[in-house]
Symmetry: C2
Subunit: 450 residues, 2 copies
């Protein structure tokens, strides 16, 4: 990449400049840095240092930096400002979607106080209404900053509208076309506006086949549509099909990444969103619930096995293979559950075809169970194990791979039907269940055959 990289040396020199308040040297550096870079820098500054630097930024860059800060850094940073300052210096000049995101990080009474200081009362009302939407819906993800033109206008009037709104709407890719009631009728790309004559009517050039979301559309439906149709912005309409906002691709890219991270963490048994540089007790707390589930599962397992102590005493070799049978069921279950969860998340799979999915997973489990059992027979034969024990282990292995694979497919499909996040069925939960079932199958078959 050809852009500025923040190094440790740079940070140290920069902090020296701040402490000496060498404004003349700091300003040219700041003008070269992008907001996201300054936000990264703030992560390493003391509160007073960050507040000092903020004072040197112009309004536009100041709010862009705030929007780019990590939530915990931002929380600390904003303690350096009063509610009035937060309203006037930041919230008033921000895009409404960023402003709403930041307000959502405050407790309700603080939100009310900040909003009460906003001078533009219409914007304040709009912000309040946005806070009511779930962050995961179009209403929560959209910003109201967009260029809206009337179908009866000419291209020249569009240009004038863009000029009027230019400061408020930073990134413009298209203008949206509405009628007198604000009903969304279509869009015109900026490229088209540049190429058409000033007198051309909007009605002659609009693309009317336009994809939109309504306020309650869920985040993953929005993400899937923007991915599928390669959109950089998506208009949002209310129940009367009136244009109320737009969602831009940068927010959806963040959304996609967060969802992927969350599913990844659930699969690995981490139950709260954490990052590798979070506080130790947070990292610890996020992992304990699953470890405790595993622990309780293990103790239950010990109780089950305890019922078969005489079987073990008579055939101690059975004990040798206990971890194998338990682990293999767990592995196979995680594989099938995760592939189903991924299919559901990417909408390449829908819950209508449940039966065919389960049949397919059943067939996969038969193949994999047979292959694994065959390999086991081969190796244990070479190692000269007791054939009776090998038979018990092989049959249990086959049965528990089969059971775990099919259960691994059924549980997430079932959760999805119930509108529960199917990703909860991945990771330690499925492993632990399958450990238990595996042991149960093992001793059931052991008891039968020995």
């Amino acid at each position: 990449m050809q852009n500025f990289q923040i190094t440790k040396e740079f940070v140290n020199e920069f902090i020296d400049l701040i402490d000496l308040k060498l404004e003349a040297e700091i300003l040219p550096i700041l003008s070269k840095l992008f907001p996201a870079d300054i936000a990264e820098l703030f992560d390493q500054l003391e509160l007073e240092q960050a507040v000092y630097v903020t004072g040197l930024l112009n309004k536009e860059k100041k709010v862009a930096v705030l929007a780019e800060l990590e939530a915990d850094v931002r929380k600390k940073f904003l303690t350096g400002f009063s509610p009035t300052e937060i309203a006037h210096e930041f919230i008033e000049s921000m895009d409404s979607d960023d402003a709403a995101d930041i307000l959502n990080e405050f407790p309700p009474h603080a939100v009310n106080e900040i909003i009460s200081h906003i001078k533009d009362r219409e914007y304040a009302r709009h912000l309040s209404s946005m806070l009511k939407f779930h962050e995961d819906t179009a209403g929560g993800l959209m910003g109201r900053e967009l260029i809206k033109v009337n179908i009866n206008w000419t291209v020249n009037q569009c240009t004038e509208e863009i000029r009027k709104q230019a400061e408020e709407v930073e990134k413009v890719y298209t203008v949206y076309v509405v009628d007198d009631n604000d009903t969304l009728l279509g869009l015109v790309s900026l490229k088209r506006i540049i190429l058409e004559r000033a007198s051309t009517r909007v009605s002659q050039i609009l693309e009317s086949n336009v994809i939109s979301a309504d306020i309650y559309t869920r985040g993953d439906d929005i993400a899937n549509s923007m991915k599928k149709y390669d959109l950089v912005a998506l208009p949002v309409v209310d129940t009367l099909n009136r244009l109320v906002g737009r969602i831009t691709i940068d927010d959806i890219v963040d959304y996609i990444q967060e969802e992927a991270d969350r599913d990844y963490q659930l699969l690995s048994g981490i139950s709260e969103k954490v990052e590798s540089d979070d506080k130790i007790w947070l990292l610890s707390r996020a992992r304990l619930p699953w470890l405790i589930i595993g622990l309780v599962g293990g103790i239950t397992n010990a109780v089950i096995i305890g019922n078969y102590d005489d079987v073990i005493l008579n055939n101690v070799q059975l004990a040798f293979f206990m971890p194998l049978v338990a682990a293999m069921g767990g592995n196979a279950g995680v594989q099938s559950s995760s592939i189903i969860v991924q299919g559901l998340a990417n909408a390449t799979l829908n819950s209508n075809s449940i039966l065919s999915r389960i049949t397919r997973e059943f067939m996969v489990s038969v193949i994999n169970g047979l292959v694994c059992s065959a390999i086991l027979f081969g190796i244990t034969y070479l190692l000269g194990q007791n054939t009776q024990i090998t038979l018990v282990v092989g049959i249990s292995l086959f049965a528990s791979i089969m059971f775990a694979t099919v259960m691994g497919a059924i549980v997430p499909l079932f959760l999805d039907k119930l509108k529960i996040n199917p990703a909860l069925a991945t990771g330690p939960f499925i492993t632990t269940t399958n450990d238990l079932v595996g042991m149960f199958i093992y001793f059931f078959i052991g008891n039968l055959l020995i």
Copy 2:
């Protein structure tokens, strides 16, 4: 979402129309559908049906549909056309990045034949050169379609250039500014071009602080930059800083999703990229390698335990807790390895701070090990277990959680240093290793204390 949804009924009716070749009824339907929708539809059509529908599409839509097809559907679809037809009907009219992606799906001799039929020899040469780049680098991800203006031009000349290129460059957000040697100097947004007077010079309005990639920049660096700086397009330069292409956010969104899917599958023990609706033997083959690793690990475990048969015979209760100790090490190891892998993937963590990461994971492991052991002591006390056994289980549990957590952090950091994908250290691999180590610790401590 307010857009067309493909239902089973719709597909059936559409197929009837195709079989009756009712062009007059098919055309209005096609004009309402987006290329991504038609691509979804092709998934359900026979080859001849798809070829017939393709014949009804205009050139622009035809190539867009081809670009949107799933790789396996596309492969089947293109068997309906000769190399000459593929070159003339599709490749010649496609964006160069899409064309290169599709050519990459053919065997080398077929690629050469198709390219030999392309009439525009400059484009053919350009495509050949793109095929040499790894798909995972800027050179492989970029398209050459962009609007390039000279720094000495006026806004009016920019508009004329946009008009000239309008057909070739579908989506325009910015124009890139170069000097006479094609060196990238900056960019101007379309919004700016609309708002400035025709006589304004490009040099007066260009933004010179522009982020670019060079041809060899890796895909994840590009993705991280576009996410960080909220970019919808990124210019690509060669080693002499000459502008050679641009990467658009839609391709990066797909890239991010694919990377996330791959890491998710590796974590769950699936070693090839598969989708839930792939063929059964593919699904089976993708899962077997990890199952076999687990199996070999389990057999090794059986051999280790086999050395302690007398310990088990004298204290059969030790056998009850074997799956617990094995599973908990595995769970803890997956947790720490996945959080490190995620930190590395999102670049929120770099391999310079290895020692501090490992120390932190060590501290987390001590906390979690202590909590789990305490809970275990409590429950087994209530269940009235033998104190000596409980002590062995508790200490082994603590030790194996500690060991597994720290190893789970060290292995991916180490792989990353060696430039090996750290995600390989997640999932069944780490589980299996920790199963083994857990059993070893268990019997070592059992032998010591009993």
